[in-house]
């Protein structure tokens, strides 16, 4: 495959690849997400490959491994095309049966199907499984269809066609207007309008401008960006190229956590393949756009998700944030105009260009357009990756898609937005998911971590958990965050050790307010949120801890948390 020198070249290649894939060959798809891989997905892939070889079916049956399909709880997952037959909890020994029965004879193996939780009847088709039924998968549309390590697969399903569109029919200004009109807001958590950010960078003056993809997904309990980078890196890459065209960037970086080795590998492959085809490099598709991309691996610091800290880290410094303004759009990496977008934000761009701003903005609510990917985890029955239109309620996500609380326990709270977010109690479960509504109930959209908490978990313990996390991750540059988080952690520890004082609650609230108002960056400003929201909705739990240690049952609990706290103190 040679370099593509024009838009026509790309079209010709796509047609050719499409024809190759539309050969009617049955295809077996194994989910290659980390969850399924851990359950033994790779072994199943090997087993299937061996069966195909042994039976001389090479060239007659296709086998491929895709990115995360989201339903991690039921892994390893195997999909069969045509028909979209969906097998779950597949074991190595099932390999030959799948080929013999389903692929060759078209017979469905009942006990590998996913049972409907209500009726208990097996569901044949993936789209009909309740977990998938209420979802609207745009960002994740090709996870489960394309092999993330092959650019051919992505091009064949229409990948890089938004590039054709912008090169042929749109000026950079029109691209920015389209993105602005779509209503897309930053998916990293803060929700800044993407179109506006792009416009700032476009208008900024500088001999070189940078575009950075922020994949420093640090929120413990979130794995959306990881799954996108692992499962469909080209969609993000395409978004970056469109952005570079719109803003006039010539150099870009992928900032990916070192803890995500598979994401690093897949992104690197994607960059290499795109470069080989001439979709990156000099004079892309003969349209005069130069862009080169490079991976920067994060070295393990939560604060580097903050844009100015991330820039410092790429520059080879300690990842500490600085005061804004100037915003990176004016003075970012090496003092040059820089656009930093989250992985999911960039993955939305090709969809907006392809389908148009009007179509995109018809999804969602008044102020929040499009879809949002959530990593659903914790004490919920169906753990996994879900993508829903904005405006879906928490109840729908947790109970309809998530299948309710695990082990027959009761729902207590949903923690949304990670260490910067808050806990939403049962009475607010019908809150629609959008930036403003979540803020009203004391949580934030955040990057998409959604942890379900059942009734046996102490909310004070949850607050302590997050405070311990941010206290450890505070970079130490500004005093309110460095000292404020430490003091709050100490007070929470006191509560859990049964040594809390009456005045501690007020002190906690005061410290929280001060830290929020005076910290330098988002980490400190949002660090008190878990404390504030647990006090707001579960004040009684704090107060019960003050009355201890009288009741027997509570005593047992305290002993346990005492041990935990002790360990925490010793370790910290």
């Amino acid at each position: 495959m040679g370099r593509l020198n024009s838009i026509q070249d790309l079209r010709t290649l796509r047609e050719k690849l499409k024809k190759e894939q539309e050969n009617g060959r049955p295809t077996v798809v194994v989910c290659g997400g980390t969850g399924c891989d851990t359950f033994g997905g790779h072994a199943i892939y090997e087993a299937l490959s061996n069966v195909i070889k042994d039976k001389g079916l090479e060239g007659k049956v296709s086998l491929k491994k895709t990115g995360c399909q989201g339903f991690c709880e039921r892994g390893p997952l195997v999909n069969l095309w045509p028909g979209n037959i969906f097998y779950q909890k597949v074991r190595e020994k099932d390999a030959s049966k799948i080929i013999d029965e389903t692929v060759l004879k078209g017979k469905v193996i009942e006990n590998l199907l996913c049972p409907d939780p209500q009726t208990g009847k097996p569901v044949h088709i993936q789209a009909e499984v309740p977990f998938y039924k209420k979802q609207l998968r745009l960002v994740l549309r090709f996870n489960g269809i394309v092999d993330p390590t092959r650019i051919d697969d992505y091009i064949a399903v229409g990948g890089y066609s938004s590039l054709e569109k912008v090169f042929e029919n749109m000026s950079p200004e029109q691209v920015i207007k389209e993105v602005a009109d779509s209503g897309l807001r930053g998916r990293g958590g803060a929700g800044f309008p993407t179109g506006k950010k792009w416009e700032f960078v476009r208008k900024a003056t500088g001999d070189i401008k940078y575009i950075i993809c922020n994949g420093d997904e640090g929120d413990p309990g979130a794995f959306m960006d990881r799954s996108v980078l692992e499962g469909n890196p080209h969609q993000v890459l395409e978004g970056m190229i469109v952005g570079a065209y719109a803003m006039g960037c010539r150099k870009g970086y992928f900032y990916v956590r070192a803890e995500y080795p598979m994401a690093v590998e897949h992104v690197q492959k994607a960059i290499d393949q795109a470069r080989e085809l001439g979709l990156l490099g000099q004079d892309i598709l003969g349209r005069g756009l130069d862009l080169d991309l490079e991976i920067k691996k994060g070295a393990g610091a939560f604060v580097c998700g903050e844009e100015t800290a991330l820039i410092a880290s790429i520059e080879g410094k300690r990842g500490m944030p600085r005061i804004r303004p100037p915003y990176p759009a004016i003075s970012g990496l090496w003092g040059k105009p820089t656009c930093i977008n989250n992985v999911e934000t960039l993955a939305n761009i090709p969809i907006i260009i392809e389908k148009g701003a009007k179509w995109y903005s018809s999804i969602g609510t008044q102020g929040s357009k499009g879809t949002k990917v959530f990593a659903l985890a914790g004490n919920v029955r169906n753990t996994g990756l879900v993508e829903v239109p904005m405006g879906t309620t928490l109840r729908e996500i947790i109970f309809d898609i998530g299948g309710g609380i695990a082990k027959g326990r009761k729902f207590k709270a949903a923690q949304i937005g990670g260490p910067s977010g808050g806990c939403v109690p049962e009475e607010h479960l019908d809150t629609p998911i959008d930036y403003e509504s979540l803020q009203k109930v004391g949580a934030i959209m955040g990057s998409g971590g959604l942890i379900v908490i059942d009734d046996k978990t102490s909310m004070v313990e949850i607050a302590r958990y997050f405070m311990n996390f941010v206290q450890d991750e505070s970079c130490g540059k500004c005093v309110p965050c460095r000292i404020g988080t430490r003091r709050m952690l100490e007070i929470l520890n006191r509560f859990l050790q049964g040594e809390g004082k009456e005045s501690d609650l007020d002190l906690l609230l005061e410290l929280a307010a001060n830290t929020r108002e005076t910290s330098l960056c988002g980490l400190g400003q949002t660090a008190p949120n878990p404390v504030l929201s647990t006090i707001r909705y579960f004040r009684h739990e704090y107060e019960t801890l003050l009355k201890k240690p009288t009741p027997e049952a509570a005593k047992a609990e305290t002993v346990e948390s005492k041990e935990k706290v002790k360990e925490g103190i010793e370790a910290g």
């Binding site: 980390t34 969850g35 891989d37 851990t38 359950f39 991690c72 709880e73 892994g75 640090g218 929120d219 413990p220 309990g221 979130a222 794995f223 990881r226 799954s227 070192a258 803890e259 995500y260 080795p261 598979m262 690093v264 590998e265 690197q268 920067k296 691996k297 070295a299 393990g300 610091a301 939560f302 880290s313 790429i314 520059e315 080879g316 410094k317 300690r318 990842g319 990593a375 985890a377 914790g378 004490n379 753990t383 923690q415 990670g418 971590g449 942890i451 908490i453 059942d454 978990t457 949850i462 958990y465 997050f466 996390f469 450890d472 970079c475 041990e563 935990k564 360990e567 010793e570 370790a571």
Partner: protein, 185 residues
């Protein structure tokens, strides 16, 4: 974030690092510092002082700043790690499923706190915040901390910890059996 440093350090062979730096074949700038430290960490399993001095000399970044950057990021360690690194996920999802108890049990069995290495340099215990396999929580990952010897090729390949073994739905009762598999190897 406290970090330990070695008082007495064994001599380390720096040839591979020197060769690597030469092979980069471009004018080194501050932007190369973190990738170089990552390479060193992956090849030696920690950051030997001599290696940091070499990097400082080659990049013309003062040693104080090299140390400042290295001590900031959790990926870097100034003491050698054990043959096997045990990572216990303490992300929120694992936390609510009881990862603290798993960690406590491992600590008890090995007699070390998190971040520490056993006296025989067999095990290092680390805590990590989310490995992205929340469905399987609590997660424990055990892998060899030093990969350069077993795998050749570019630096990218060496750091990929794809060979790490994931253990899902670990309970405190399962810990002893899992650790036992690594005790003799």
């Amino acid at each position: 974030m406290k970090k330990e440093t070695l008082k007495l350090e064994p001599n380390v062979e720096l040839n591979s690092l020197e060769k690597y730096i030469k092979g980069l074949n471009h004018h080194l700038s501050t932007a190369d510092l973190i990738p170089l430290l990552q390479y060193t960490q992956d090849s030696f399993g920690y950051l030997p002082r001599q290696a940091m001095e070499l990097i400082s000399k080659q990049t013309r970044i003062p040693m104080s700043r090299v140390f400042g950057v290295a001590s900031f990021y959790t990926q870097f360690s100034f003491v050698p790690k054990g043959k096997f690194t045990i990572k216990v996920c303490v992300g929120t999802a694992c936390h609510v499923r009881g990862s603290e108890k798993v960690k406590a049990r491992i600590s008890e069995l090995l007699g070390i706190k998190d971040g520490k290495t056993t006296a025989d340099y067999r095990f290092t215990l680390e805590l990590v915040a989310c490995l992205g396999t929340c469905a399987l929580g609590p997660i424990v990952v055990i892998g060899s901390s030093k990969k350069a010897e077993s795998c050749c090729g570019g630096p990218m390949k060496q750091t990929l910890a794809l060979g790490d073994k994931f253990y899902g739905q670990v309970s405190p009762e399962k810990v002893q059996e899992i650790l036992g598999r690594y005790a003799k190897e």
